[in-house]
C-alpha cells in the first residue's frame, strides 16, 4: 500500500468507525420492535427453524411518526424555528460581516476575535447567562425598571422571543465567518465602477455586493439552518416546556419513554430531511471554489 493510500485510509477508517457504524446501528434499531428488555428492542435477525435467517423490518415506527400529529408538528416547528433563526442571523450578521470586511486591516483581526471570543466559554454557560439576563428579576428588567422605562417586569424568559435570542446569539458566528470569508475577497473597486456608471451607494450595494456575496450568504445560512433544526437545548432552557422541537421529542422518546425504535426512526427521518440542504451547501461551496458566481 503506497503512502498516499495509507493517508487516505486513515480518515476513511475514522469516518467508518464514528459515523457509518453508529448510523447503521441507529438504522437497525429504527426497524425493530420495542421490547421490555435491555436493550429495549427486539433483535432484527432471528433464526427461524434450521438454516434459515429471518430479517424482520418493522415499518410501524415510521408509520407512527407520520400519522401521529405530535411528530409532524414537531418537525414542522423545528424547521420553522430554524428558518426564522437563519433569517434573523442574516439580518444581524450581514451588517457585522460587512463592517468587518470594510474595516481597516489592523482592526479586522480584533473584530473577528471578538466574534469568536464567546466560543471560548461553554455554550451552556452562555445560555444560562441569558436566563440571568432575561428572567423576571434579571438584569435587563432591573435596568429598565430603575430607568423607569417600564413599570412592570417584562416577561421575556420562556417565550419564543427568548428562544430566538438564544439561538441567534449562539449561531451568529457560524453565519458571520463564512460570509466574511466571501466578502473579504470582494474587489471594492467594483463599487467605485458602479458609482462611476451612475449608481448611488445603496444601489451599488444592492446590484453588486449583494449578488456577489450570494455564496457567502448561502454558506452561512446552511451552517445555521442545518444544526438549528436539531437544536433543543436552547429551546428547552429559554423557550420553556412548550417549545416543541424535534430534538426534544427525540430526547423524550429515548430517555423518558425508553422507546428506542421510535427515537431512532425520528433520528433517521431528521437526517433524511437535512440531506438535501447539506447537498445544496456542498454544491455552493464547490461553485465558490471554482470561482464561478
Amino acid at each position: 500500500m503506497t503512502g498516499r493510500g495509507l493517508v487516505v485510509v486513515l480518515p476513511y477508517m475514522w469516518l467508518l468507525l464514528f459515523f457509518v457504524v453508529p448510523f447503521v446501528i441507529v438504522l437497525k434499531i429504527s426497524f425493530s420492535d420495542i421490547d421490555l428488555a435491555i436493550p429495549p428492542y427486539k433483535p432484527l435477525l432471528e433464526w427461524v427453524g434450521k438454516n434459515s435467517l429471518a430479517i424482520k423490518l418493522n415499518f410501524n415506527n415510521y408509520v407512527f411518526l407520520f400519522t401521529d400529529g405530535l411528530y409532524v408538528k414537531a418537525f414542522l416547528n423545528s424547521i420553522k424555528v430554524a428558518f426564522i433563526s437563519t433569517v434573523l442571523c442574516l439580518l444581524v450578521g450581514y451588517p457585522m460581516a460587512y463592517g468587518i470586511a470594510r474595516a481597516k486591516p489592523k482592526w479586522r483581526n480584533i473584530l473577528l476575535l471578538l466574534v469568536i471570543l464567546p466560543f471560548w466559554t461553554s455554550l451552556l454557560l452562555r445560555v444560562y447567562a441569558w436566563i440571568g439576563l432575561l428572567k423576571g428579576n434579571g438584569l435587563i428588567n432591573i435596568a429598565l425598571l430603575s430607568l423607569k422605562i417600564i413599570h412592570e417586569p417584562l416577561t421575556m424568559l420562556y417565550t419564543p422571543f427568548a428562544m430566538y435570542v438564544g439561538i441567534v446569539y449562539s449561531y451568529l458566528p457560524f453565519f458571520i465567518l463564512p460570509l466574511y470569508a466571501n466578502l473579504e475577497k470582494m474587489d471594492w473597486q467594483l463599487l467605485e465602477a458602479a458609482q462611476d456608471l451612475g449608481c448611488r451607494p445603496w444601489q451599488a450595494f444592492y446590484k453588486i455586493t449583494l449578488p456577489l456575496s450570494r455564496n457567502g450568504i448561502l454558506a452561512g445560512s446552511m451552517l445555521v439552518f442545518i444544526p438549528a433544526v436539531g437544536e433543543f437545548v436552547i429551546p428547552a432552557l429559554l423557550g420553556g416546556p412548550n417549545a416543541l422541537m424535534i430534538g426534544r421529542v427525540l430526547w423524550d422518546e429515548f430517555f423518558s419513554n425508553r422507546a428506542w425504535p421510535v427515537a431512532s426512526a425520528v433520528a433517521i427521518l431528521l437526517l433524511i430531511l437535512l440531506v438535501p440542504f447539506m447537498m445544496w451547501y456542498q454544491s455552493v461551496q464547490a461553485r465558490e471554489s471554482a470561482g464561478e458566481r
Binding site: 474587489d187 473597486q189 467594483l190 467605485e192 465602477a193 458602479a194 458609482q195 462611476d196 456608471l197 451612475g198 449608481c199 448611488r200 444601489q203 453588486i208 449578488p211 456577489l212 470561482g291 458566481r293
Partner: protein, 379 residues
C-alpha cells in the same frame, strides 16, 4: 490620419488666452494626514485633447485623476468641468466616466450586461440600450463576445470591454488609469493607436494617467509631468522632450546626457558653459536667464550627438572618449562612451547601413553636437 487630438494640437488652444478650457483645475491640494499627495496643482485641459499625467509611482497622478472622477474630495481648491463647479459632486452625478486600471468588470454579469449597466442606471429604454451596446461592442471589436463572462476573456479583451463600458454613456470626459499597463508590448502598441482612433471618432476629451513615458508620448496631445504631487511641466510631447524645464523632466522623459558646468559667457543670443565633467566648453545658441557664474546643466539628447573617428572642427561642443559599451537594438545602437574625465556619455545612432567599419568596443571616438542641441536647465 487626422485625430481629434491632432486637431487640438494644431489649434493649440492652450496658447490662446481667450479660449475656454474644458476642465479647469484650480489650486487643488489633497492631503492624507501630513502627507500632501497633490500639492497646489492648477491645470487647464481643452476639449478634444488627450492629456497625459506622467510620473513615477507615488507622484500623485492617480490621486489627481480620482479627484477629477469624484472618488476623492480635494482638501483645497476647485475643479470645473465644462464651466460648472464639480468640486464636491459625487461620481454618479458627474458627466465623467473612468476606465480603471484593473478594469473592474462586474464578474457576475456578461459582457453585454456590463456595458449596458450604466445605460440601465439612466433608465434609457431597452431597445435603445441594446442598439447602443451593440454599436459600442462592434467599435471595440468585441461583438462576438457579448454573452461571455469576464473570467472567460483574455486581458486584452477585458480591456476593450472596460473601454466600451466607459464610453457607451458618451461622457464629456473620460479618465483612464494606466490603460495599457497590463498588456504586452505588441498589444500595447496596437491598442495605443486604436485608442487614438476611437477618441477621434467619438470626440471625447481624455485624461490618461501613466508612468510609461513612451505611452504618454504616443497618446498625448499634451503631457503634464508630475513629481511629488506637483506638475513640474506641461506641454506637447515635443516641447517636453526638446525643451525640458528642469533636470527632472529632462531625465524622466527619454534619456539625456547632463553636463554640469558654470556660466563663462552669458549673452542674449548665446551662452558658453565651462564643464569639468565634459572637460571642455559648451556653446549654446540661445540665451538663458541665470545669475552670473551660476551652476547650470546642459542637457544633450543621445540622438543629437555625432560620433566619428575623425576629429571635428571647433573647440566648443566636442569631446573625445573610448567606447565602453554597445547595445544593438536592431533599428539603432546605443553607445556608452567614457570620457577622460570619467563621465560616461550615451550616444544613439540609427543603423542606416551595414558599414564594414562599424564602431567597436574600446575604439577612440570623437563626439560633437550642434550649438542648437543643448538645453540649459537651471534646476
Amino acid at each position: 490620419m487626422t485625430t481629434s487630438a491632432g486637431a487640438a494640437v494644431k489649434a493649440a488652444p492652450w496658447k490662446d488666452p481667450t479660449s475656454r478650457p474644458y476642465v479647469q483645475v484650480e489650486h487643488i491640494t489633497k492631503s492624507f494626514g501630513d502627507f500632501k499627495a497633490v500639492n497646489d496643482v492648477s491645470l487647464k485641459i481643452y476639449q478634444g485633447e488627450i492629456f497625459c499625467l506622467l510620473g513615477a509611482s507615488g507622484c500623485g497622478k492617480t490621486t489627481l485623476l480620482r479627484m477629477l472622477g469624484g472618488f476623492e474630495t480635494p482638501s483645497a481648491g476647485k475643479i470645473f468641468i465644462d464651466g460648472e463647479d464639480m468640486t464636491g459632486v459625487p461620481p454618479y452625478e458627474r458627466p465623467v466616466n473612468m476606465m480603471f486600471q484593473s478594469y473592474a468588470l462586474f464578474p457576475h454579469m456578461n459582457v453585454e450586461q456590463n456595458v449596458a449597466f450604466g445605460l440601465k442606471q439612466d433608465r434609457i429604454p431597452k431597445p435603445q440600450i441594446q442598439e447602443r451596446v451593440a454599436t459600442m461592442l462592434d467599435l471595440v471589436k468585441m461583438g462576438d463576445f457579448a454573452k461571455r463572462k469576464p473570467h472567460q476573456l483574455s486581458g486584452g479583451q477585458r480591456q476593450r470591454v472596460a473601454l466600451a463600458r466607459s464610453l457607451v454613456k458618451r461622457p464629456k470626459l473620460l479618465l483612464l488609469d494606466e490603460p495599457l499597463g497590463a498588456l504586452d508590448k505588441k498589444l500595447r502598441e496596437h491598442t495605443q493607436f486604436e485608442l487614438i482612433s476611437l477618441q477621434d471618432k467619438l470626440g471625447v476629451t481624455f485624461v490618461v494617467v501613466t508612468h510609461d513615458q513612451e505611452e504618454a508620448m504616443t497618446l498625448a496631445s499634451r503631457i503634464g509631468v508630475m513629481n511629488h504631487g506637483e506638475i513640474v511641466q506641461a506641454g506637447t510631447p515635443s516641447e517636453i522632450y526638446e525643451f525640458p524645464s528642469s533636470k527632472f523632466v529632462a531625465d524622466f522623459v527619454g534619456s539625456v546626457n547632463m553636463f554640469e558646468g558654470k556660466l563663462i559667457e552669458d549673452e542674449p543670443e548665446y551662452v558658453r558653459i565651462g564643464s569639468e565633467e565634459l572637460g571642455g566648453t559648451i556653446y549654446v545658441s540661445h540665451g538663458i536667464s541665470a545669475p552670473p557664474e551660476a551652476i547650470v546643466w546642459a542637457a544633450v539628447r543621445p540622438e543629437k550627438i555625432f560620433m566619428s573617428t575623425a576629429p571635428p572642427s571647433g573647440t566648443d561642443n566636442v569631446a573625445r572618449g573610448a567606447v565602453q559599451d554597445i547595445a544593438y537594438l536592431g533599428d539603432l545602437s546605443i553607445y556608452l562612451v567614457k570620457l577622460p574625465t570619467g563621465k560616461v556619455v550615451r550616444v544613439t545612432q540609427p543603423n542606416t547601413s551595414r558599414h564594414a567599419e562599424a564602431i567597436t568596443w574600446d575604439q577612440l571616438v570623437y563626439l560633437s553636437w550642434d550649438a542648437t542641441s543643448p538645453v540649459v536647465v537651471t534646476r
